[in-house]
Symmetry: C2
Subunit: 291 residues, 2 copies
């Protein structure tokens, strides 16, 4: 039996003393000249593997955002596969940030793509979208459970538009995102690790709304979080403190642009990335220890 993803993630977090997730969202025009290759595939591959190398001691996991690879067509997705496989083959954990969601049989196909062993796109965990309801989420849960993978359901995202739908109150009480949180709890309940106590169905809860973060943490004591919004999106390390248990477990905090595209010259890029990752990891650690 494979060790569940969230147990492996917790081991990585302890070992590195870091709850940082490094988001790999490459902006092609910001990639240092020294990493550029003869074609976009090579450039993306060099960049993604360099980010991994430079952040390795300071990150619990990596989260390539597939949109920034898909935008470059098949060569871009070939680079995505290469980066995911390189990180995983060195023992690193990868969250495929693809926010997939569709009706039952189609959800099953997406789950096979990202969570079944041996496929090109196999990752350790996947982000998914709840708009279609529980029957659209269940196939992901089943495939993840079968293979020791993890999921992160979008609950309360970090963008301003989260207020359009997610923050709206339902007639029977909870807000839309709180209703989604209930679905997450229900779907994860049969899949709680006896080792760490974490369910395999995690939640994406943005750091840009600390109030929502605290609400969801209280409602979902055994749901691991993926917390975006740190850095370029404006949230501070203190904003994420509510995502964690008092033992420091329970969440990884994503930083993308502020780590992979730091304000530095091309020559200084490698060192600047390492410094940015280390500082992000330390500030998250300080905030959670102080909470």
């Amino acid at each position: 039996m494979t060790t569940p993803y969230f147990d492996r993630l917790e081991a990585c977090r302890r070992e590195r003393g870091s709850a940082l997730c490094v988001g790999i969202d490459p902006r092609i025009d910001r990639i240092p000249a020294s990493l550029r290759g003869p074609d976009v595939r090579t450039t993306l591959e060099r960049f993604g593997t360099a980010v991994h190398e430079r952040t390795r001691p300071h990150a619990a996991c990596w989260k390539p955002q597939i949109a920034f690879f898909e935008a470059h067509g098949l060569p871009g997705l070939t680079a995505f596969v290469h980066i995911v496989q390189t990180i995983r083959s060195s023992g690193g954990l990868v969250i495929a940030d693809a926010k997939r969601g569709d009706i039952g049989s189609t959800a099953e196909a997406y789950a096979e793509a990202f969570l079944a062993p041996g496929g090109d796109f196999e990752a350790d965990a996947l982000t998914i979208n709840p708009y279609l309801g529980r029957d659209a989420l269940r196939p992901f849960v089943e495939v993840a459970a079968a293979h020791g993978k993890g999921l992160y359901v979008l609950v309360r995202t970090s963008n301003p538009g989260a207020t359009d739908l997610q923050e709206r109150a339902l007639a029977d009480g909870p807000k839309v995102f709180e209703r989604v949180a209930e679905m997450v709890e229900e779907l994860g309940a049969p899949h709680v690790s006896p080792v760490t106590g974490w369910s395999l169905v995690g939640a994406v809860v943005g750091a840009t709304s600390p109030a929502a973060l605290a609400t969801v943490r209280e409602a979902l004591p055994r749901t691991p979080f993926l917390v975006p919004g740190l850095g370029a999106q404006g949230a501070t390390a203190a904003d994420v403190a509510a995502a964690f248990r008092s033992d420091g477990s329970g969440a990884v905090v994503n930083a993308s642009r502020s780590v992979i595209h730091p304000a530095a010259s091309d020559d200084d890029w490698p060192e600047a990335v390492t410094v940015a990752a280390r500082e992000a990891a330390e500030s998250i650690h300080a905030a959670t220890a102080a909470s």
Copy 2:
């Protein structure tokens, strides 16, 4: 200036006398032996192009579901690209059914992938997910407007789980899907074709809930619909009538499994697909003419 997608779609519908959208969701184990190739890429390519050939006189557009290709890794996506490009180069219209959705800059990357001219994945229209709110939808609208493309926002889906979230009433009155419908109307309002009167922001509204279909049609008189649920999902042609204007315009109705995997022997598959498409097109036509 490119002719807007929904104007092109309306021309196709009139020319063929069909509002059928053929969903290309290949189940690999149901592909006839005669179409199987030496590898999964070849098999999918042969199947997808054969479906197009066999349904060409009877369909207004085609909707490959990317999940069923992504499940086969890079070779699967290579087949997806081949099928999309084959259909488009013969003048057929393609809706990429990918249900993408993410925050602003990431949404922009997805929009570039599927809607910008010249990319591997370029289609004529794209399905997108509204859970993240208006700022996550806007980049798609902007890219679509710049290139004469179309969008279909998930409003009320055809699966049973649509009741989990979409059918829930909000405290201030509308149901969640009605609130999404308002967002669709607002985003599309600046982009209404002077020729046909249709906005470039369409809606996915399932045929399995005729009541929801009628509600959304009334609320969104200038929003074109993509209506799934016909055939294998249980809706009848009569159920879709409410999606159309009295002149027969305003929607395409998707049928996938019932057309591409008809109950027929491998030898009879080509003819059975043509017959299934023709019958689906005729029954949709009859239902809308009678409404």
